[in-house]
């Protein structure tokens, strides 16, 4: 591996640097999330016309699909951070991986619940054992496994390393979630949104969906930054920079 990677990572990965960096960026991320979220909701719930087949039930798409994408995206981020944490033992990477897990689990849970709520009127059942639904459930279990393993250890860094290991093993599930609709015949629909070609969805429905997608991405960044900052304080409790913060933020 090129030697500049660890060097570069160590520089940005220094806890006080990242603490400050995340602190300045976080409010902006939150503001962007709110902005895009409000626009997307207005466009999705009010402006977009009812679907000719599904009526208004399809409006669940504006939260279901962004959440589903986030559930996979966050797993990818977690997996990468986990890899860095294991190979270079960088504290920040451990923290990013471990703090991504609860957010990812939250989005996975939302996907499952909103999908169920959508499935009842569309397919006539809350749940079937089809490939995409199952692999998404497995994704939730993976997230929970990572969180559980992390907390099962008494030493946090040791727990982080063990859980990072599990996260890396579990990453094979992400392509399965995505491609399950192609590989097996399922109830769940295949890709309707295509970034690089014509999407089979009308523009009035597409742009609110894209807004919501951006909103969830920004939300993730904001939430992750807040969590990482807290964790860094807890992990670096003995260091001077933390002492200063603890004294100033009384």
């Amino acid at each position: 591996m090129a030697s500049w990677i660890p060097l570069w990572l160590h520089k940005l990965g220094s806890p006080p640097t990242f603490y400050r960096f995340a602190g300045t960026l976080r409010p902006w991320m939150l503001a962007l999330a709110l902005l895009f979220g409000l626009i997307g909701l207005y466009g999705g719930l009010v402006l977009a016309p009812p679907d000719y087949q599904q009526g208004d039930a399809y409006r669940i798409i504006f939260i279901h699909v962004p959440s589903a994408w986030m559930s996979m995206f966050i797993y990818g981020v977690m997996g990468m951070a986990a890899f860095i944490a294991l190979v270079w033992r960088i504290k920040l990477a451990e923290v990013v991986a471990m703090e991504s897990a609860p957010i990812g689990a939250a989005f996975t849970f939302i996907t499952l619940v909103t999908g169920s709520l959508w499935g009842k009127p569309m397919w006539g059942t809350w749940w079937t054992w089809d490939a995409r639904l199952t692999s998404e459930l497995v994704l939730l279990f993976l997230y929970l496994g990572v969180i559980g393993l992390y907390h099962a250890f008494e030493d946090r860094r040791q727990g982080a390393r063990a859980a990072a290991f599990l996260a890396i093993i579990g990453i094979i599930n992400v392509p399965i979630v995505h491609f399950s609709v192609n590989w097996w015949n399922t109830l769940h629909q295949g890709s309707t949104v295509n970034l690089f070609g014509p999407s089979s969805i009308v523009w009035a429905m597409l742009w609110p969906l894209l807004c919501m997608t951006l909103a969830t991405k920004f939300y993730y960044a904001a939430s992750l930054f807040r969590r990482v900052r807290t964790d860094l304080l807890a992990l670096e409790g003995g260091k001077d920079w933390v002492r200063k913060i603890a004294e100033s933020e009384a």
Binding site: L45, V46, P50, G55, D56, A57, R59, I60, I63, H64, S67, P102, I103, A106, F109, I110, V113, T114, L117, W118, K120, P121, Y219, A222, S223, R226, R227, R229, T230, L233, A234, G237, V242, R243, A246, E247, E249, A250
Partner: protein, 74 residues
Amino acid sequence: MSSLQTFLAMGGYAAYVWPAYAVFFAVLIADSVAPRLRRRRVLRELRARLVRQSTRQNQARQSREPAHPTSSPP
């Protein structure tokens, strides 16, 4: 029916659409509140630790002072 009522009725799918949105917001709000509480707790613990450390240092200095008067700061 007023337009608000039509909006809320969601074409007869209100029982599915609104709970979905409710879950979305409930989960995300929970996700953002949890770290806020944790941060408060972490800071409280940190300050307690600082207090413990400073008292221990004071004790150590007091017990050391007669033996090494030069090592204490002016």
